[in-house]
């Protein structure tokens, strides 16, 4: 019995635990000791006491103050009523004698301690007490049956806190049978319950607040209340309201700091995702692809094998918006999306982890943020069958008006006049639209190709249920989205989701097994360039004859280059099979200590067949039936053992996690091309080909790490979180494979402090949090530290020898890139937490950038992989607001709002001025800066675009290069959005529910002029242009923003100026918009109308996506600004119903 200071009362049985606690939390103990020693230093004195109805504790404290004697006692054995004492200048002995005179205690003085304990009871008393006191056992859970670890159990006679263990269990000996327990847990309504030996399962009801919703985080769960990292969750409900087949599109505007850029509106098309800005510099500036950092995607603990990479090898219609006309915004992620294989309704939640505290445990993998997707699980209870079906239509969100025939021909004639082209130069070769085609014919090609409506169908059925120990869910889904394009093209998905949970041996062993399998078939046409549907001359002859055959020649003029319908006959089928399977086995070694292993396998198979039948080829050229067969397999194997340790100690909750991670990613692809089929009918097989060429590629990546996390929450007020990690990656050369990273986070829930509670009662919750951490980057191709040769299989052998070609420059020295992130957050809950506010400030700095450094071709290659010393900073502010404005029985109104401001800046770049990057980056500016010419206007005399030279002069032919290189280029635009966000309102009236969610962006982007003026064509050439571009210079003296028309065939000054224009400030303008992203109306039919059908919860609803857009952006869709001639984004309206049995 060597415990206890008067300041903290601790349960008797906890003493051993305390010893352990002391070992772990030495600092706390140390501080405590200092406190005691200070007290002891005061020395002996006479005692004066004047206490009325004071607690024993208070009296002891007072005596200790005056005498320095410390009272040691067990609070729970010493449940005494308040007492009164009045004494003056007495000795300790006198005081104690008087104090304990009528009390059932005995005491003794040992050195400077007063040991107080209950008087030894007589046997009779003991027997009586035995019948009065009972041992109580209970299990505390939430409404879903999940155990609540750390719930507190208190009763009036007890001081301090009893808490449940990590399984939600508690057990207490010797409780008076008349006691009433108060069981409370943060975020839940406290519950009073009269004790009995077996309290069984005690369910706590959730306070209706977002603050305490369970949130999936890295290797565990948390709530917003106790989180010190930055994590935002999008729920199944938010997703269900949106008629999208790709779940990434359901994230648009929902999460502050997360930008989603859809890649055109074709079914199955990809979407780029980025969290808090671009951290790495562009790897290859000569490439049409801009580097684009994307987060790590994890589904149920297993990295999704294809991540967000494009899955197609072939160039497919609609999958690649970057036509040759303008590809400045294209990225390597363009193409078909792997996420199209996931049924959005199988997803329970998506958590976006943004800062170092939240992500650093994923190490290098998570340095650009992490997106955790958690699928739906079964629940104990009656087995139910849910069914859901909807149908919808989609059409172009923002159609474009192109010139009609008269306008087009006027444009062409004007261009010819401007160029001084003589009549004999207007040949049928170069000007078939003026010399051969019907001058009165008009076809609106845009409308022909994109003007229709397409249908979508979506349905799924879920069977779920289970007992206390075993739960399951099985969902079958079907979805079909037609292309809004001529031809019978569609994306069709079949999905099967299943999950089973089982626990055994009194819940010591848990077992979770889940499998998601889906099959998706996307058939479309093989032509990558959507631009043809926009720019074909409006008087182009009919491309199909009366019987539907392709027309190749019109009055001797070949239509080969313009025959878009031929592309529709070049079928391109893409089939993907996605398998994600995860097994988690957990075993509770002892109370608070749990070992578990997450085993996962994710596999994504893609089969592609592109057919180029002879009938789709112009007889002008040699017709060779060709078919291309592509197979790609993405695989990820993930093994993650971990040891969890949970300890409740007094007012503190301590969690430790120690884990290992092993991942192996494999990517293989094979492309077989069959040439020279004797019949188009054989194109489905490689066998019919006269010649076959084969190409394959395979990459391997291995990754292993050990990591740990310590988390301590004290008194539900103070939070400390530490993570550390050692990463190893096979992408680096020998001796450079390992890196150490870590983070530290702290939180202070100051609303729990007494001073705060008393002064500002309407603030129910307020937390300050901070985190800082590092993470490494290894996102590069493997093997680049050595030089390799590859056999060239695209040619025949050279005299029987297979030719080899070198494939890379090598650099043995590259190493981990490093990102350091600081995150500060303030969370406030007002009015019973009905209003929750979050403000976050963050700063991340990435240096030692690992990138393919662009090199001139004279080195033999276009780049080499290396680290370089540039530092990129992203700094920003994010705000969210969720509010329950009205909550009544029949009517409720909730609002949510978020906004994020990210500022990207290049802090350092040694040698920038003399590097090729000088034309792309500028110190102190955003890495999305466009460096180009300052546009002035159109010269009224020459009709040419004019720009400012570096010295302020005006010219139509500015000099390429930045000032330090003798050129005229300066930063002219910043493409990073100024701010992004979303806001939504949900109204519920009786059985009706209405949600309107808006997404908004303030940004500058490439405008439509950047697409229509290009090196390959310009207004006046044989391409159609939008009506908006009609307002151009015509005659000397005209003041206009658009230069004179030119055919760009015989003269090149206009073309030259146009080319400069596309690199000038004139090609960029405001592309801000507010878009009604989601509108959802839902009616729940009262069960009483459903009679005896057995049906329940019948809901009827209409969901709409992209219904309305408010923008000043002139032509095209501001959400895909800069890719004017791409497959347009679609507006979707779907109606459906759901019910269960």
């Amino acid at each position: 019995m060597k415990f206890i200071a008067t300041s903290i009362a601790v349960p008797l049985g906890a003493q051993r635990y305390i010893q352990q606690f002391i070992l772990v939390m030495k600092i706390t103990t140390f501080l405590l000791m200092i406190g005691l020693m200070q007290v002891s230093a005061k020395g002996y004195s006479q005692i004066s006491l004047h206490e009325k109805n004071a607690s024993l504790e208070k009296v002891f404290t007072e005596i200790k103050k005056q005498t320095n004697y410390v009272f040691l006692y067990d609070e729970h054995q010493l449940n005494l009523a308040p007492l009164s004492i009045d004494i003056k200048n007495a000795t300790l002995e006198t005081t104690l004698a008087k104090l304990f005179k009528d009390l059932p205690v005995e005491y003794s003085i040992v050195e400077k301690n007063v040991l107080v304990k209950p008087k030894q009871k007589s046997i009779l008393t003991k027997i009586k007490a035995y019948f009065d006191e009972i041992d109580v056992r209970g299990h505390v859970v939430d409404k879903d049956g999940n155990p609540l670890a750390g719930a507190t159990i208190s009763w009036p006679q007890v001081k301090g806190i009893m808490t449940t263990d990590s399984n939600g269990d508690f057990f207490m000996r010797g409780v008076d049978e008349k006691t009433i327990f108060v069981i409370s847990y943060v975020g839940y309504l406290p519950r009073k319950i009269k004790v009995k030996p077996e309290l069984g399962t005690i369910e706590l009801e959730l306070l209706d607040s977002k603050l305490d919703e369970v949130q999936v985080i890295a290797y565990g769960t948390n709530t917003r209340r106790f989180s010190v990292g930055s994590a935002v969750t999008v729920t199944a409900q938010d997703i269900a309201q949106q008629p999208v087949t790709n779940v990434l599109l359901a994230l648009e505007g929902r999460v502050p700091g997360l930008t989603v850029t859809p890649n055109g509106g074709a079914p199955g098309a990809s979407a780029k995702i980025q969290i808090r800005g671009q951290n790495s510099l562009n790897s290859n500036i000569n490439s049409q692809y801009r580097a684009y950092d994307q987060p790590l995607f994890i589904i149920d603990g297993v990295p999704f094998a294809p991540q967000n990479n494009k899955i197609n090898i072939s160039q497919r219609f609609g999958s690649n918006p970057a036509s040759s006309i303008n590809s400045s915004t294209a990225t390597a992620a363009d193409g078909m999306s792997p996420f199209n294989t996931i049924n959005p309704s199988d997803i329970e939640s998506i958590t976006v982890l943004k800062d170092a505290d939240a992500t650093s445990i994923y190490g290098s993998q998570g340095s650009n943020g992490v997106i955790l997707i958690t699928t739906k699980k079964g629940k104990a209870g009656q087995t139910t069958l849910d069914a859901h079906v909807d149908r919808g239509v989609n059409f172009v969100a923002r159609p474009i008006q192109m010139l009609n025939t008269q306008q087009y021909l006027d444009m062409r004639h004007e261009a010819i006049k401007n160029d001084g082209i003589t009549a004999d130069q207007v040949t049928s070769d170069l000007f078939p639209d003026l010399t051969v085609y019907d001058q009165n014919k008009y076809t609106n090609w845009y409308k022909q190709f994109f003007g229709g409506t397409a249908s979508t169908t979506n349905g799924y059925a879920t069977l779920k249920g289970g007992s206390d120990h075993t739960t399951f869910i099985v969902t079958g889904g079907y979805s079909d989205s037609k292309y809004n394009f001529p031809g019978d093209f569609a994306d069709t998905r079949y999905s099967l989701h299943s999950s089973v949970h089982h626990s055994a041996f009194k819940d010591r062993l848990t077992f979770d097994f889940g499998t998601d399998y889906s099959y998706d078939k996307n058939n479309s046409s093989g032509q990558p360039n959507a631009a043809n549907a926009f720019i074909s001359p409006p008087n182009l002859p009919d491309l199909l004859d009366a019987s539907g055959n392709l027309v190749w020649n019109y009055k001797g003029s070949w239509l080969s280059q313009l025959q878009q319908y031929a592309y529709l006959k070049q079928t391109s089928d893409l089939q993907s099979h996605s398998l994600n399977t995860v097994l988690n086995i957990g075993y509770k070694i002892t109370k608070g200590l749990r070992f578990s292993t997450n085993l996962g396998y994710s596999r994504f198979d893609v089969d592609e067949i592109d057919q180029l039948p002879t009938l789709a080829q112009s007889p002008q050229y040699r017709n060779v039936a060709t078919a291309t067969f592509g197979t790609s397999i993405f695989q990820t194997i993930s093994i993650e053992p971990q040891l969890d340790y949970h300890l409740n100690i007094g007012k503190g909750v301590f969690n430790a996690l120690l884990g290992g991670s092993y991942k192996k990613n494999l990517y293989d692809n094979t492309v077989l091309t069959g040439i020279g089929y004797s019949s188009d009918a054989l194109l489905g097989s490689i066998n019919g080909a006269n010649e076959v060429t084969a190409l394959d590629q395979s990459t391997i990546y291995k990754y292993a790490a050990a990591f740990g996390r310590l988390n301590y929450v004290y008194d539900q007020k103070y939070i400390v979180s530490l993570t550390g990690r050692r990463d190893g990656s096979s992408n680096f050369g020998p001796d450079r494979q390992f890196g150490d990273f870590g983070s530290a986070g702290m939180g202070w829930i100051f609303s729990e402090e007494k001073f705060f509670k008393n002064t500002i009662p309407f603030i129910g919750y307020a937390k300050l949090s901070a985190s800082y951490g590092t993470s490494g980057g290894d996102g590069i191709a493997p093997y680049q530290y050595q030089s390799f040769y590859q056999p060239n299989t695209q040619v025949n052998t050279f005299q029987g020898v297979r030719p080899y070609n070198p494939v890379n420059l090598y650099n043995p020295d590259y190493n981990w890139s490093v990102k350091k992130t600081l995150n500060l957050g303030l969370d406030v809950g007002l009015l019973d937490n009905r209003i929750l506010l979050n403000g976050t400030w963050y700063q991340s700095r990435s240096d030692n950038q690992l990138t393919n450094y662009a090199l001139p071709s004279q080195t033999g290659f276009s780049s080499v992989l290396q680290n370089f010393n540039a530092t990129v900073q992203n700094r920003g502010l994010e705000f969210t607001l969720t509010s329950t404005n009205i909550k009544a029985t029949d009517f409720s109104w909730t609002t949510n709002f978020n906004i994020a401001f990210n500022r990207n800046k290049l802090l350092a770049f040694p040698g920038l001025e003399s590097s090729p990057y000088a034309l792309y980056y500028s110190i102190g500016k955003s890495t999305s800066t466009v460096i180009g010419y300052r546009y002035k206007d159109v010269n009224p005399t020459t009709g040419l675009f004019e720009f400012y030279k570096a010295n302020g002069d005006v010219t139509s032919s500015p000099v390429y290069g930045v000032a330090s290189q003798g050129g005229d280029m300066v930063p002219v635009a910043d493409l990073q959005p100024k701010f992004t966000g979303g806001f939504g309102n949900t109204f519920r009236y009786k059985n009706f529910s209405l949600t309107a969610f808006f997404q908004f962006v303030k940004q500058t982007s490439a405008n439509y002029l950047s697409a229509i003026y290009s090196a390959q064509s310009m207004p006046g050439g044989m391409v159609n242009i939008p009506v908006a571009a009609l307002n151009h210079w015509r005659n000397p003296g005209d003041i206009s923003n658009l230069e004179r028309l030119s055919t760009a065939l015989f003269t090149y000054d206009a073309q030259d100026a146009a080319y400069s224009f596309t690199q000038s400030s004139g090609a960029y303008s405001d592309a801000s918009y507010i878009r009604l992203k989601t509108l959802s109306l839902d009616y729940r039919v009262p069960d009483k109308y459903l009679g005896k059908s057995g049906m329940k919860n019948l809901r009827v609803y209409i969901n709409a996506q992209n219904l309305l857009t408010i923008t000043g952006y002139q032509v095209g869709d501001p959400q895909s600004a800069g890719s004017l001639y791409s497959f347009p984004l679609q507006r979707t309206v779907a109606g459906g119903l759901s019910f269960n049995f």
Partner: protein
């Protein structure tokens, strides 16, 4: 109060040990094979004689690149369009820029030719370095291999310097050094070309290293060096070297013009197999129409057509004709195209090879050198060797000016659409402004040099643009 329990020490220790083992064997966990399955490391390549020959074969295979914009074949086409040999009706703005002399520095073909050249020069440089330090092959073989690929490097720089002017002289694979090399002077580029070819002459023997005449022997080096001397005005050396080639007795003119470009032609001094999988030579792909009744993508110009003298067999055998219904009214008009190479498809026989240099050209080199050396009779004799084979009567030129003019004309009709020689000839004769100024409406003398690709200037700020281009 028993909700708090002791840790079972053994279990904890076991779990910790397990994790420690995992952590310590991390190195093993992330081991991957030494090289990707489809690739060989540089060390593996040069450690094995078969692999070395594979790398050498890669160098020759790169010549035939067409779709990527190979320098060797595409410089023939684009100088033909920029000059007065071929035209195009196809609506390809990149092509039209050459034909109309409205070339801009962002033209993608310009850029691709440049990149393709340096890509193969890299492979040559890498092979020279790799072979030099290789231990798997004999010293004699090393010498011969390095000699033959120096011929390749010389040929690439010869094309580059004539297309773009002085270009960066890259002789190593060290990108830290080569990335910032500025343009060398024209003289220095020629100095390197001469050095490489001279080295090759020393290293190579009369025997071809492999079957046929696919890889250079000493006469290839001598013939190319003679051509360089011709371009540099070293008439004496040009004559000496060409005489050595002609007198070797290894080569003879094919009497039938239709056989000149066939595989195994005895006129060939250096001919590379066309090893495309779908097509044979790039030339056949460019010029031969896809089918009857279709015009060539690149018909010959009216100037070239009218340059042939009446009765010239080359007009019949090396110029193809297709009859095309141009206006869809049933009236057929003739369209002419280069027809030295007659095969489009890989499967067509007899097979044709890429002619890099042939005896016919060597005669004309010597003819011109002799004419410059005032050996008029001998010059005319050489010219007549070529004329007679073409079914023409002997040259009647008498004065030195006439003889030279006659040889120049002979080069136009004999070497059209071969190795960019017409464009290069007009430039070295300094007649380009007169000739093309008369034929091409947009002509400016600055067009004689192609622009340095703008993307390369971006990547290497030490590069400067040619006059007349942005």
């Amino acid at each position: 109060m028993k909700n708090l329990q002791y840790l079972t020490n053994t279990k904890v220790v076991a779990a910790l040990v397990l994790l420690c083992i995992m952590a310590s064997s991390c190195k093993k966990l992330i081991e991957i094979p030494a090289s990707p399955p489809s690739q060989l490391s540089s060390a593996q390549v040069f450690a094995d004689s078969t692999n070395i020959i594979g790398a050498i074969a890669g160098i020759y295979t790169n010549f035939g690149v067409t779709t990527g914009g190979g320098l060797i074949t595409n410089s023939m086409l684009y100088t033909g369009l920029s000059g007065d040999e071929v035209t195009t009706g196809a609506y390809d703005v990149g092509d039209v820029q050459f034909m109309n002399n409205s070339l801009i520095s962002s033209n993608t073909y310009i850029s691709k030719m440049w990149s393709d050249a340096y890509s193969n020069i890299y492979q040559v440089n890498a092979c020279i370095a790799g072979i030099t330090s290789a231990t798997a092959i004999s010293a004699a073989l090393k010498k011969q291999l390095i000699g033959e690929i120096k011929v390749v490097r010389a040929l690439y720089y010869f094309r580059l310097v004539n297309l773009y002017g002085g270009v960066p002289l890259v002789l190593s694979t060290d990108y830290t050094a080569t990335a910032k090399i500025p343009r060398a002077t024209v003289d220095n580029v020629y100095l390197q070309i001469t050095t490489d070819l001279t080295d090759a002459v020393k290293a190579l023997s009369v025997n071809y290293p492999s079957a046929g005449r696919a890889r250079p022997n000493i006469y290839v080096a001598k013939a190319l060096l003679a051509n360089v001397y011709l371009y540099r005005g070293d008439w004496q050396n040009a004559e000496t070297l060409t005489t050595e080639v002609i007198n070797s007795g290894v080569y003879s003119l094919e009497s039938d013009l239709n056989n000149v470009f066939l595989d195994g032609s005895n006129e060939a001094i250096w001919q590379l197999p066309a090893n495309g999988q779908y097509s044979q030579t790039a030339d056949g792909q460019f010029f031969v129409p896809y089918s009857d009744g279709v015009a060539s993508s690149y018909p010959i110009s009216a100037f070239l057509k009218s340059a042939f003298e009446p009765g010239d067999q080359r007009l019949q055998k090396w110029i193809g004709t297709s009859l095309v219904d141009e206006n869809g009214d049933g009236n057929l008009t003739a369209s002419y195209y280069p027809y030295k190479y007659k095969n489009r498809d890989a499967a067509v026989t007899p097979a044709e090879d890429y002619m890099m240099i042939r005896l016919g050209e060597v005669y004309l080199i010597r003819a011109e050198a002799r004419a410059r050396l005032s050996k008029l009779a001998e010059a005319t004799a050489d010219e007549n060797t070529v004329r007679t084979r073409a079914g023409l009567s002997v040259s009647t030129a008498a004065s030195s000016t006439e003889v030279l003019a006659s040889i120049m004309h002979e080069r136009q009709t004999e070497l059209f659409c071969e190795g960019a020689s017409r464009w290069f000839d007009l430039k070295r004769w300094a007649t380009i402004d007169v000739v093309l100024g008369a034929e091409k409406p947009n002509w400016k003398s600055s067009f004689a040099l192609f622009p340095i690709p703008v993307d390369q200037i971006r990547l290497n700020p030490f590069l400067t643009q040619n006059p007349g281009y942005n």
